[in-house]
């Protein structure tokens, strides 16, 4: 497998688990279609069971496809076994060979390809330099810390200079501080090497900070494929919005529509919002991020009054529970210092108030 390719194409990739005794057939991955350009960093993001790990295992060749195909430029690769695909993979529990030293672990892929010893030693040294672990080259994995093991796993995957690097939730076993450090490491390594990477995670911060494009998945289906900024500010449907932290979800009546601008009212609110999908049935789901509310001193466009119920101090800002006149409860995140019982005026920019159809099925990608 050459490291120079221009695109990786997934076409209708499907993985179904057949029906067994007392078990229904289960579609873990449903018709994933996307194209990855050379050098891109793609994150597969979603909750457990959404199919992201299945997708990765199918790409690696560890799971066969039930339907669809995978092409590397013009070569069809989903018919090849893993040892013939030449992709590098970092496993969630690292899967370092416990009986081999760090150096031998990293050299393993090269040894399997018959790379001569001298060249192999050089490439291993370069890879270990890249992850800053050359001093531990002779140690056994059991003697390393979690973060160090993780770096060895990364070095092992990249030393073979694969066209594609696959990472399966590599940071989930690390503590919070280490996770942030390793995230920066992974970003740095990707910048230096420029290898196409597909990264599976359930952590949105990781996905947003590392990826060129994010694939948000739910129940085996890709809900949205876009750059992080769009996923963050313009989630394609209610499920993506929910997953990306739009914690305020209110069902309201549609008073009027003009293009994408809609007027919603109910439960003590009357707001202008932006419809992200075609609405129907005279009702809509309003989705607003807690951080997007502005605390204003007097009524302005798109504002409403509320009372503070609870204040949770978070250092830089506060998470404030408020109650609107009609009894509706909202969550606000603001740097304003408020006290329980205070009246407060909140405003929201219309393009930050997103409206989705109420019928979840209508909003889902089929």
């Amino acid at each position: 497998m050459t490291s120079d390719f221009s695109e990786l194409r997934l076409d209708g990739v499907t993985r179904r688990f057949a029906a067994g005794k007392g078990v229904q057939s289960f579609t873990a991955l449903n018709a994933l279609t996307m194209t990855v350009k050379r050098g891109e960093f793609i994150a597969l993001l979603g909750p457990s069971g959404c199919g992201k790990s299945t997708a990765l295992n199918c790409l690696a060749g560890l799971l066969p496809l039930t339907d669809g195909g995978i092409w590397l430029d013009d070569t069809r690769i989903d018919v090849l076994p893993p040892e013939k695909r030449g992709f590098g993979m970092v496993f969630q529990n690292y899967a370092l060979f416990p009986h081999m030293s760090v150096a031998r672990n990293v050299a393993f892929g090269l040894a399997m390809r018959g790379v001569p010893a001298a060249e192999s030693a050089q490439r291993v040294k370069r890879a270990l330099d890249l992850v800053q672990l050359n001093s531990q080259a002779h140690k056994l994995p059991g003697q390393l810390s979690g973060g160090q093991q993780q770096r060895v796993a990364i070095a092992r995957a990249i030393v073979i200079e694969p066209p594609l690097v696959l990472m399966d939730e590599p940071l989930s076993n690390l503590d919070a501080k280490l996770r942030l450090e390793m995230r920066a490491e992974i970003r740095r390594i990707h910048r230096e090497l420029g290898r196409s990477t597909i990264y599976v995670t359930h952590d949105q911060d990781e996905a947003l900070s590392l990826a060129d494009r994010v694939v948000v998945m739910k129940d085996g289906v890709a809900q949205q494929i876009a750059e992080p900024q769009r996923i963050y500010a313009e989630p394609a449907n209610l499920d993506v919005a929910r997953f990306m932290g739009y914690r305020n979800l209110v069902e309201l009546d549609v008073r009027s529509e003009s293009g994408a601008s809609v007027q919603l009212a109910g439960s003590g609110l009357a707001l202008n919002a932006r419809a992200m999908q075609p609405l129907a049935g005279g009702k809509a789901m309003l989705a607003i991020r807690p951080e997007e509310f502005d605390v204003v001193s007097s009524p302005v466009d798109n504002s409403f009054a509320a009372r503070v119920l609870n204040v949770e101090y978070c250092g830089h800002d506060n998470i404030v529970d408020v109650e609107v006149a009609g009894g509706l409860k909202l969550i606000v995140r603001t740097t304003a210092r408020l006290r329980v019982g205070d009246p407060v005026m909140l405003a929201i920019a219309p393009d930050k108030a997103l409206a989705y159809p109420v019928d979840a099925a209508a909003g889902m990608v089929p």
């Binding site: 076994p81 529990n93 690292y94 416990p98 009986h99 390809r113 092992r156």
Partner: protein, 287 residues
């Protein structure tokens, strides 16, 4: 491991007393008693039992006779267990079925296997008749009351044990390791050779040692299926005869000690050799 014990005497340690006492009285003491008894023969100096053993033909030869049975049996059992258990390493209905079926000869024990073999493997048994009918072999087969009968019985009773033990070691290896190897270009054979095999060596050594020890102490099969006076006069028979036919408990103890020594020697050799290989955990990082 949980609660720290207080610096003063921990009363819960008293829970250990009955079991420890039992072991000391019924296991350690008889062993020590037997050891010292072996040095107090009915006649002669303190080494008389041992010298008698090594100078008497039909006593000394039992060691070699037993080894001639135990080592091939163990090699067959462990040697066959490895590839077969490896083939069945993935949890499946087939694996569960085979495992359950193999537990049966294990549980039935050597006496029943001996009785069954006398009928089935005997000159007039079904096996003999089938071979004759298929013209593979003319005339009655001679697989009982000789070396082969005992060897076959050692395989029938020993293979399930070696298989189950090996299977438990193989399934204890993190399945992500061969997967990682395959993404790095390792063919299935290379996955076995570079990943499984080195990690299995300690377990295989243990399986070999335990299987050997079991085979070396063969007794009822050697009597019922072999020719206890001749070709399959194993060391346990010598010990039994000394104790229950000649009432020479001192000699019997000496023979039992020698049995233990040979077993210990082989086990130590096997475990010592494995110490040269890897000896750590078999998962590849934070699980």
């Amino acid at each position: 491991m949980s609660s720290a014990s207080p610096s003063s005497f921990d009363r819960s340690l008293l829970l250990l007393v009955p079991a420890t006492l039992f072991m000391v009285v019924l296991f350690v003491y008889p062993f020590l008693y037997g050891l010292q008894l072996s040095f107090h023969p009915m006649e002669g100096n303190w080494l008389a039992n041992y010298t008698q053993f090594f100078t008497t033909g039909n006593l000394r030869d039992t060691v070699w006779t037993t080894l001639k049975l135990a080592i091939p049996a163990t090699v067959i059992n462990v040697g066959a267990a490895l590839p077969i258990a490896y083939q069945m390493r993935r949890s499946s209905r087939f694996q569960k079925l085979i495992t359950t079926l193999l537990v049966i000869p294990l549980t039935l024990g050597t006496v029943l296997i001996a009785e069954g073999m006398l009928g089935y493997f005997g000159p007039k048994g079904w096996l003999s008749q089938s071979l004759q009918w298929l013209h593979i072999y003319e005339g009655p087969i001679r697989l009982t009351h000789n070396y082969w009968g005992v060897l076959i019985s050692l395989v029938i009773s020993g293979f399930p044990f070696a298989f189950l033990l090996t299977l438990s070691y193989i399934t204890g290896i993190d399945p992500n390791l061969p997967r990682a190897a395959s993404t790095l270009g390792a063919t299935p054979w290379n996955q076995f050779r570079h990943i499984y095999l080195p990690l299995l060596v300690p377990g295989l050594a243990m399986a070999f040692a335990l299987s050997f020890v079991q085979a070396f102490s063969v007794f009822p099969s050697a009597v019922l299926l072999g020719s206890p006076a001749g070709a399959t006069r194993v060391i346990s028979i010598a010990a039994y005869e000394a104790a229950f036919e000649r009432y020479d408990y001192s000699m019997a103890s000496a023979v039992a000690m020698l049995m233990g020594v040979v077993q210990l020697f082989v086990v130590a050799a096997v475990l010592g050799a494995r110490g040269m290989f890897y000896r750590g955990p078999v998962s590849g990082g934070k699980g």
